[in-house]
């Protein structure tokens, strides 16, 4: 034994773990750097050869292409920069609306799969199975084709409800005609929201202190509906509507939701909701049944059991995977390019085609989506911390 020890006094440096770690890392870093250098030099020679400009100078040049729908004013004479901003806004629009709708739908379906009613739970499962197992792109094509093939031209528009027209040019619906009163109604609604939140805080505090309950739901509803209604009445109760009217081959007036946006939204919402439903179901199931029994035995109504006991605990299990699903929806909104909705990827793609500056274009795409991802996960992390168990 002793002889072994005496011989091992000398360790070769390549047998030392720390030295090895440094060597490995230096080797990797050099390899990555060399690869990067090789690729960049290739790009430079190729671009010089095809006389493609480099840098982001193109952003200020005239875009010279039209964009179908836009939240801000845009024409073909505007710059590429403005076109790209239009694209980002369109992406944000569809993602935001989609995130809200899919969370609601997913939660409903998730709760439905746990229903005691056999029909409801079966329907929930069938929904999840079908929509989860079909590529979202195929669903987008399907809904887009539905608009073009199943819905008639504006002349024979379907009119399911007064003021709403379904055509192959999208959904046209009536909106209230412009009137200053609507601005005040909007402000009144915001004020009502703030008041409701404050009353809710007060009522929770009072219940914790005295045990007295306050009919929060009805009070909140009264304020949220009543205040805007009163404001509307005070300002002369404008009732004129801007109804879509058939003029020539298309509707004018009212608002129009394009078939591209509708198909994209419907496809994304239905697809993502099937995943969220499973997450919600798993989250609720993770709460032991004893919680439900205990809550029922102290006399809570089933609705309150779900709202006060199950959901707050289940949320902790639900939020992390929910975040990644909502991020997926945002990323999948880039499939808009396949059905012609002018989202960021489509605008950037057109820009790449026109300028040939592929590297800058793809870099911009990555930058925008990375920013969106980071923002969403930052917000959800904050929310997750807020609802996490506060330990004593």
């Amino acid at each position: 034994m002793a002889s072994v020890n005496s011989n091992s006094g000398k360790t070769y440096f390549w047998n030392d773990q720390k030295t090895r770690a440094i060597l490995y890392q230096v080797f990797t870093a050099v390899a990555v750097a060399l690869l990067g250098y090789y690729l960049i030099s290739n790009v430079q020679t190729n671009m010089a050869k095809q006389s493609i400009a480099s840098g982001f100078g193109f952003i200020e040049k005239e875009a010279a292409f039209e964009i179908g729908e836009s939240l801000i004013e845009y024409s073909a004479a505007d710059s590429y920069g403005r076109a790209l901003i239009v694209g980002v806004l369109n992406t944000l629009k569809v993602s935001l609306v989609g995130i809200i709708l899919t969370t609601i739908l997913g939660t409903i379906v998730g709760v439905a799969t746990l229903s005691k009613n056999w029909l409801i739970s079966r329907l929930g499962f069938v929904y999840v199975e079908i929509f989860q197992n079909i590529p979202v792109l195929l669903q987008l094509f399907f809904f887009y084709a539905l608009f073009y093939e199943a819905f008639p031209s504006p002349r024979q528009a379907l009119n399911p409800v007064t003021g709403v027209f379904l055509t192959n040019r999208g959904i046209d619906f009536a909106v209230p005609a412009a009137h200053p009163a609507w601005l005040y109604v909007g402000l009144a609604f915001l004020a009502a929201c703030a008041i409701t939140v404050m009353i809710n805080r007060w009522s929770v505090k009072r219940q914790e202190a005295t045990g007295q309950q306050f009919p929060m739901f009805w009070a909140g509803l009264a304020i949220l509906v009543g205040l805007p209604l009163v404001t509307w009445a005070i300002n002369g109760a404008p009732s004129q509507m801007d109804i879509p009217v058939l003029k020539g081959f298309n509707f004018s007036g009212g608002r129009n939701i394009s078939p591209e946006f509708s198909a994209l939204l419907i496809g994304l919402v239905l697809y993502t909701a099937s995943f969220i439903a499973q997450i919600v179901r798993a989250g609720i199931q993770s709460i032991s049944h004893g919680q439900t029994e205990a809550a029922l035995s102290i006399g809570l109504k089933p609705v309150h059991v779900l709202k006060l006991v199950i959901f707050p605990q289940a949320l902790r299990v639900i939020v992390p995977p929910l975040t990644s699903q909502l991020l997926n929806l945002t990323k999948n909104s880039s499939l808009a390019v396949a059905i012609g909705y002018p989202d960021f990827v489509q605008v950037a793609g057109t820009t790449i085609n026109q300028t040939g500056q592929a590297v800058e274009g793809v870099a911009l795409m990555m930058l925008v989506y990375l920013t969106l991802s980071l923002l969403t996960s930052a917000y959800m992390n904050w929310y997750n911390k807020k609802i996490a168990i506060i330990e004593r």
Binding site: Y24, V32, N42, K116, N133, I134, L138, I352, V359, V362
Partner: protein, 365 residues
Amino acid sequence: MSTTIEEIKPPATNVGVIGWIRQNLFNGLFSSIATIVILAGLIRVVPQFIQWAFIDSVWFTSGQECHEATGACWSVITQNIRFNIFGYYPYEEQWRPLIAMIILIGMLIYSRDWNKWNKRLGYIWLFALFVMGLLMKGGLLGLVSVESTKWSGLPLTLLLSFFGILASYPLGVVLALGRQSNMPIIKSLCVVYIEMIRGVPLITMLFMSSVMFPLFLPEGVTIDKVLRAQAAIILFTAAYIAEVVRGGLQAMDKGQYEAAESLGLNYFQMMRLIILPQALKIVIPPTVGILISAFKDTSLVVIIALYDILNTTKSILTEPEWTGFSTEAYIFVAMIYYVCCFSMSQYSRKIEKELEYKSNTPQSS
């Protein structure tokens, strides 16, 4: 003294069919209303659908007759089935991708049980892959050579997903190990790669493959489009696999690492013999989840104008004879995807159950 106790049967409304209906369909006011509403909806929709899909439908006619029929036009599939499945692969040679697909599916079904995973199966797979490659590419044994640009339809979908999965798996494992390593440079490289890829949609990767890869290559070297898309799918999927594998590595007990080290195993031996076999096994179910989404995501190659099965369907629908029947055509493609994804998810459920069973039974050795 003996008393006979007469057995009292439960009320007829609590057992049997009626009991089941009462408990599962009409238990409470809300439940009853919901049942009635759903049934009413189903009664309105289902017969209409059956009428459209089966009774009024036409199956083997030309597009003209289809436009006159009131029901579904399944002819759009039956008349174009070969183009739909095989795309632009030369018409007389289409038996070759057919046999290749049958071999692939047969091999997958044969190796579904992991107790059969041994060296021999590995060699069989190598041989099968060689045969499939030979069938697709040709150029040997009197088979006509077929350019990979002509590969399309279902074979392309299966090819992209199979090799995407096969190649991204080891890459993902390496990335996961890199992320768990305590060497700062390697760790940060892996973290940046994984998070960057996971933060962007697959489309940007595909765009990169179609417009940026050509710029990366030295002059005179070109790689064909299918291979570039394949590379993008591999690079993309690997990042997701890496995160799943990392979960498995983190779930391992620290004692396993310590025991392996105290036996004098070096890093590679420790990972290969002790850690990875256990870690990879426990993450099989989420891995299958990633594979399912990778399979569905191959449909995105439509956007860079590759002809997978979704795109061949689309191009059939642009022919004037067959415009207007996209519902039928898309239902057909959806069914193909559904069957594949559904069987994969059933497989993962089966494995999940096996794993649960194993962890609940005490180890005999």
